[in-house]
């Protein structure tokens, strides 16, 4: 119908499949997210480390380059080690960038919808609360995937390609750790950011709240653990908890998590992460409603 006809008709054409509709939200959100030059610059920065990793792996296998920079071939594994620690450190750095990314994007995801009564518009369509949360989480999850497990696995496959299938077979644990370790962190950060965005309407305050949730319990944990000679403090600190899980996923000893004092048991770390996700989900469930019922 031409616009000048100005009449109204029922739509009886094809409809998109219901399962894929949550992906509409990230598609529309990215158009706004990428309008920020600061964000685009930051995203570019996020690919520096994977690129450096790519160069290191290339150097590791390039005899001419090694001799050019005077690295003896028998000591190459010491100078440029490509092992579980190499990949874990890379994931840790990218994981921290994920947190910065969630600070930039997360607070603007739900709060504007709540502020402008946008939720009834979403939820009056064949679109559920779960799909809404899934769509909003996908905005963060896709961006975080692009800087964690996607480049991580590319590096892993590049190393496997250069070192041969036997290296891949022996180090399959690294590949799975990159994939699952990234997704665990993505899930925790996405849910936490969404929960904060749902409860704190003002973006700057939501960013400060996220920073507080990240750093204050961590500081508290350090003090508690140092004074009481325990690991219990880490239960409330996200970052040490996550690095503990990553360390074990990469098959490294818990002492390699690089924290002074007692290492946190793996079970406790899982418990803390799952609890964080469940609390975030409960907060979202309480808030994501078409209308608040005043009892």
């Amino acid at each position: 119908m031409a616009v000048y006809d100005r009449n109204f008709g029922i739509y009886q054409g094809e409809r998109t499949p219901t399962w894929s509709r949550f992906l509409i939200i990230p598609r529309f959100a990215y158009q706004e997210v990428f309008q920020s030059r600061l964000f685009v610059a930051f995203l570019g920065f996020c690919f520096l480390l994977p690129f450096a990793g790519l160069l290191i792996i290339y150097l590791h296998h390039n005899l001419a380059a090694l001799s050019f920079i005077n690295v003896p071939l028998d000591r190459v594994q010491e100078v440029l080690p490509i092992n579980a620690t190499f990949f874990r450190r890379g994931l840790e750095f990218q994981g921290f960038l994920c947190f910065v990314l969630s600070l930039m994007v997360g607070p603007a995801l739900i709060s504007p919808d709540l502020r402008n009564n946008g939720l009834p518009l979403y939820l009056s369509r064949p679109f559920s609360r779960t799909e809404y949360v899934l769509g909003k989480a996908a905005v963060l999850a896709l961006l975080m995937s692009a800087i964690t497990w996607v480049p991580g696995l590319l590096l892993f496959f590049f190393q496997s390609y250069l070192d041969g299938a036997s290296w891949m077979g022996k180090n399959l644990e690294i590949g799975t750790a990159i994939f699952f370790g990234s997704w665990i962190w993505i899930a925790v950060l996405s849910l936490l950011s969404l929960a904060v965005s749902a409860w704190v309407k003002w973006k700057p305050v939501a960013r400060i709240s996220l920073l507080i949730l990240f750093y204050v319990p961590w500081g508290f944990a350090q003090v508690l653990n140092a004074t009481q000679d325990t690991w219990w403090g880490f239960l409330v600190a996200l970052w040490p908890t996550m690095t503990t899980v990553w360390t074990r996923l990469f098959g490294l000893p818990l002492e390699a998590a690089n924290y002074n004092g007692n290492p946190m048991p793996l079970g406790a770390a899982w418990f803390a992460l799952i609890a964080c996700c469940l609390i975030s989900l409960a907060l979202l469930s309480r808030r994501i409603r078409a209308y608040e019922v005043v009892r």
Binding site: F8, I10, R15, T16, F28, L121, R125
Partner: protein
């Protein structure tokens, strides 16, 4: 109920909704088939709660409701696919232009991307926002936001549209434009409309059927279309002096339907073949002075006020 024997648009069967144990909707029963159905009632009567319940925002605590024969609880998603909803309050997605906002809403309703874009342009032109469609919704005036809300409710071509107080906060010109759009949509004959309002004129202008709610119950049902078609006119009389009782008896003897409408005031319908001069003759014979005689139609206002005055029944219409 209209004479139309087609499937009811909305059926309510003992519908109850409670918030925190407090009953808000109390056993609503109704079957509505009109093209444009009005939900009328004072503030707090339960109009918006009823709309929200039909949209699946609040679960019924008892009873059920059906839209086009589909249960609102078991077929919620399917039903929402057939509906468009224009909320009462300001509602938009911040930071988006009008066209992107309406397109997003179209895509969420299941339209493929290109179709959604095309229909968004059409919907925005239809509601009169064609020139402003690339402006951010946040910068729209209140009237424009109302129109944008209407556009997002229309974009996916629903079979049923819920309009919750569509003329809220509009100036007279914008209000008239909104009502004209509602009438246009109604007259196209492709869509059913549920119009919730506390403004009698809005409902009277647009609706064929009216369900009046009071205190969470159906206070009354009125088929405006049937009333208009019957075109029944009433006479309002104000009399003084003489033998009033004898006068009313004589008027009734003429075959008039008569009701006392206050002290020395009567409301009556003349039967076929009885002229007004008969009333004057009867009055003169009984020395009653007719001080005032108005001919009027029973307006929605009368029906509404009557419903508000009387104690509500468990269900109004059926």
């Amino acid at each position: 109920m209209t004479a139309d024997s087609s499937q009811p648009v909305i059926e309510l069967q003992g519908l109850e909704v409670k918030f925190g144990g407090r009953p808000i909707l109390k056993g609503l029963n109704a079957s509505l088939t009109g093209r444009c159905i009005g939900l009328l009632g004072p503030n707090g009567a339960g109009k918006t709660t009823l709309l929200h319940t039909l949209l699946g925002f609040h679960p019924p605590s008892a009873g059920t409701a059906r839209i086009f024969g589909k249960d609102i609880q078991t077929g919620a998603k399917e039903i929402r696919g057939l509906m468009g909803y224009m909320p009462e309050n300001d509602a938009f997605i911040a930071g988006m232009s009008g066209i992107r906002f309406v397109r997003l809403m179209g895509e969420l309703s299941g339209l493929p991307s290109e179709q959604a874009l095309e229909r968004s342009h059409e919907a925005l032109f239809y509601v009169g926002l064609g020139e402003a469609r690339y402006r951010k919704v946040d910068t729209y005036s209140l009237g424009m936001k109302q129109m944008a809300k209407l556009a997002q409710a229309l974009v996916h071509g629903p079979r049923l549209i819920f309009l919750d107080e569509p003329t809220n906060g509009l100036d007279p010109a914008a209000r008239e434009r909104m009502l004209k759009l509602v009438r246009d949509i109604r007259d196209e004959g492709k869509v059913n409309i549920i119009l919730s309002s506390h403004l009698l004129r809005d409902v009277e202008d647009c609706c064929e059927e009216v369900l009046v709610l009071k205190d969470g119950r159906v206070a009354t049902y009125c088929n405006l279309q049937a009333e208009r078609e019957a075109n029944r006119k009433f006479l309002q009389l104000e009399v003084r002096g003489g033998d009033e009782a004898a006068f009313t008896a004589a008027v009734e003897a003429l075959g008039c339907e008569m009701a006392v409408d206050g002290k020395q005031r009567f409301k009556l319908v003349l039967p076929e073949g009885v002229e007004i001069r008969e009333l004057y003759r009867v009055a003169a014979e009984r020395q009653v002075q007719i001080r005032r005689l108005d001919s009027k139609r029973d307006s929605l206002q009368d029906i509404f006020l009557k419903a508000m005055e009387t104690e509500v029944a468990g269900h109004g219409r059926v």
